[in-house]
Symmetry: C2
Subunit: 149 residues, 2 copies
DNA sequence: GCTTGACCTTCCCATCACTGGAAGGTCGAC
DNA sequence: GTCGACCTTCCAGTGATGGGAAGGTCAAGC
């Protein structure tokens, strides 16, 4: 089948299929005489695998690892589990950081009158020098923020 | 002061300061005879504002809005509040999506023996056709939301 | 005065996972 | 044979940064 049909059947766009081929995530597709790529239902199966993994937030390089394990009949489930657990841990870490941000910001929003006057605790906080250092504080959201939903 | 000092004082890298200038987020810095950019403490103050907003996860375009309001003495706090609340809502939406992912994946991980055998419910689920449609399920986690940490 | 090293300048490239578009070839139906 | 839908490759852009090259400037020490 042509790439468009494979795209529809798998839920991965034609653009993406070509991109995945180019980057080596998937093997090069066979070609018809016309030069059109030709896909089997096994290919679609693989693409669907990829889409589902993306839907779970795996990065392309993680998916590369998962695909190799998927194809490897002598794989050890511990290898799969390790990749997945690592990803869950990453997700949870990011969730925590975002919760903190959201919490801090929500408390500022709650303190803001939101009327026609210019006074605003949100801007005041942004302007304020809690931390004059300019330390490389990226990510380590300020200690003492009220966050923590 | 030179850009390096302003960078240290504000916590925004010199690279980023130039980038923000280039994209118009901040006005063009004055120059010394040498051609070096020259910053005042007011500039550092502004850069610190930007860094704090980034730390709260605001995008550059949101910060552009906030900076304009910050400079606008006749601003209405409701405008600031709207931007911030919108951002909190975005954050919460992304948090929910990630929680869902993490939860789904964690339950799969929990079902995986993680031993030397090849059988693995994680791969099985990825392989499985819950949803043969190929529907555009690519939800709510917008690109670039990965981890600003 | 000269060298050295730290700093500055601009410019280009890479990231990550895509999306968009242009220019042109192929196919199937009418 | 013509039309529209599809396919091909290639090139560029996204957002917020980091990295590095090639070259100019400055201040200190000799």
């Amino acid at each position: 089948m042509n790439i468009g049909k494979a795209a529809k059947a798998s839920g991965v766009s034609a653009k993406m299929i070509r991109y995945y081929e180019q980057t080596g995530l998937i093997p090069k597709a066979g070609r018809k005489d016309s030069g059109y790529r030709d896909y089997s239902s096994a290919d679609v199966h693989m693409l669907r695998f990829i889409r589902k993994a993306r839907d779970l937030g795996f990065s392309v390089s993680e998916i590369d690892g998962l695909l190799n394990l998927w194809r490897d009949r002598s794989r050890q489930s511990s290898d799969v589990k390790r990749i997945a657990q690592k990803h869950v841990d990453d997700l949870n870490e990011r969730i925590e950081a975002m919760k903190q941000m959201a919490g801090t910001l929500q408390s500022l929003v709650d303190c803001c009158a939101g009327d026609a006057r210019p006074d605003c605790p949100i801007l005041a906080d942004l302007e304020d020098d809690h931390d004059g250092s300019g330390a490389p504080a990226r990510a380590t959201l300020r200690p003492g923020s009220k966050g923590r939903s």
